[in-house]
């Protein structure tokens, strides 16, 4: 066997080993979670309220609260994020000071630890705006956290759409707005999807920022101004503060991971449908 072939084989081996290692870690985590938590995830667990500080009972109100917080977060960050990305990629000239300043700030913001966002959220939404510990405050804080990721990923999506599309549209007498909506948006959709999934993932997994803003009351929320407990906080509370809470913490983690996968799947499915209506990828 020649040296070149040997080197190729070695490379292939190295690639396979790393792929397997990553996959193994993923399945190990998932497996151990399912092993210890899956047995407890029943319909009753998903729908009933927690009892005995969460050792017994279910996570019904917590699931509802989580979805509400996520809903507020997305309702605020999606339009804002899309708008900002459009502004950055289409209307701020590539090298302009404004564009560069905003982009740099977003990159810094994306790396800021979530606890800082939590403190900021407490100061602004809970106190200054008088929302108190509430789903609203939590959702808005998460929106601030998710926005940088969402904007940058979406902007990348728009930028990666070839400028030929813009020129072609302009040469046909199409307005910038309709080129954006009908041509560039579908072309940018994959980027948008990535941003959305990353953003939602970060929002769902968030604990620190929510501790200060939406609080940890585990009752069923009656309005968006009620304090509420998110899944991640429930897990944290059960495993850190409640002796004997570990089994239910695991079960809740299973639900959280399932929710995450469901959100990813839903986003992919919706984008796929939307694309097939407008773009029809091969």
């Amino acid at each position: 066997m020649s040296r070149g072939r040997a080197a190729d084989r070695l490379l292939a081996l190295a690639v396979w080993v790393s792929v397997l290692a990553v996959a193994a870690v993923f399945f190990w985590i998932l497996g151990s979670l399912l092993w210890s938590g899956m047995g407890r995830v029943t319909w009753a667990f998903l729908t009933t309220a927690p009892r005995d500080a969460g050792r017994a009972g279910g996570i019904g109100p917590i699931l509802v609260s989580t979805l509400l917080i996520l809903g507020v977060c997305m309702a605020v960050s999606l339009p804002l994020g899309l708008g900002a990305a459009v502004l950055l990629s289409e209307f701020a000239e590539a090298g302009s000071l404004f564009g560069r300043a905003v982009r740099r700030s977003l990159d810094v913001l994306a790396g800021v630890p979530s606890i800082v966002f939590g403190l900021f959220g407490t100061a602004l939404f809970c106190q200054a705006l008088g929302l108190g510990y509430s789903i609203f405050a939590g959702g808005l804080t998460l929106a601030c956290m998710v926005l940088p990721i969402l904007i940058r990923a979406t902007e990348e999506g728009f930028r990666s759409a070839p400028s030929e599309y813009r020129r072609a549209a302009a040469a046909l007498g199409m307005s910038r707005a309709s080129a954006l909506w009908h041509v560039l948006l579908p072309a940018a959709a994959p980027g948008l999807l990535v941003g959305l999934v990353l953003g939602m993932g970060r929002a769902l997994a968030e604990t620190a920022a929510l501790l200060f803003t939406s609080g940890y009351v585990d009752r069923m929320p009656e309005s968006l101004l009620d304090s509420a407990r998110a899944l991640s906080i429930h897990i944290y509370d059960l495993s850190m503060n409640v002796t004997g809470g570990d089994p239910n913490a695991c079960a809740t983690a299973v639900v959280l991971v399932a929710l995450l996968l469901a959100v990813n799947g839903l986003a992919a499915w919706m984008t796929g449908r939307w694309l097939s209506r407008r773009v029809l990828p091969a």
């Binding site: 000239e93 590539a94 070839p162 030929e164 599309y165 813009r166 020129r167 072609a168 549209a169 302009a170 040469a171 046909l172 007498g173 199409m174 307005s175 309709s178 009908h182 041509v183 579908p186 072309a187 407008r278 773009v279 029809l280 990828p281 091969a282």
Partner: protein, 260 residues
Amino acid sequence: MSGTDGSTFLRMENLGLAYHGKPALEGVDLEIRRGAITALIGPSGCGKTSLLTCVNRLIDLVPGARAKGKVEFQGRDVLDPRADLFALRKRIGMLFQRPNPFPLSIRRNLELPLREHGLRDRAELAATVERTLRDVALWDEVKDRLEKPALALSGGQQQRLCLARALALEPEAMLMDEPCSALDPLASGAVEDLIVSLRGRVTVLIVTHNLAQARRIADDVALLWLQDGVGRLIERGPAAAFFAQPKEEITRAYLSGERG
């Protein structure tokens, strides 16, 4: 030639263009005859693409680009900042060097600009789609896959689709920037035949590097040349005379392949 009544369609007067203050094109005086095919030839970088994009103001999309002089079209100056670009670009379409269909279905590629220009009626849209696709001899190839992505077509088919997309707006003129140069000989021939078929109906201003092609299709020819780093119009005239008895030394040298 047939269909060209010789009247002026568009007139450039002392047209110039600079990118970031550096002139790329200067002092171009050129008349385009209605219904004729005018070929714009010249070496790389002499400003042929720049000239085309002045005519439909696509130059507005390039930051730092400034045009001066005059492009007179129907008694108005195209370069006037108040010019109605929407209407201008509907009347003067463009075909690019690389086919650039939108990443949408074949049908939507054609319908999108039509809708943008106010055609909403479904039956009429469908009829226009079929008519323009027949116009570019693409109908039989794609009639069963109108909902399929345009990007799945071959390069030549894509370029014909782009031509159909522009023609659907019933433009009076087409600007073409080396429309055949990215295609294989067969596809290139098909597109060339289509361009010839426009003679008399649509005024064509076509950039080409292919002198043989210019000889085959052009009614008029204009040669741009780089002098001191700036593109200038060297010679223009009816194709027959231009190729048979060029007046300028540069033209003679360029045509005989010594330069450029």
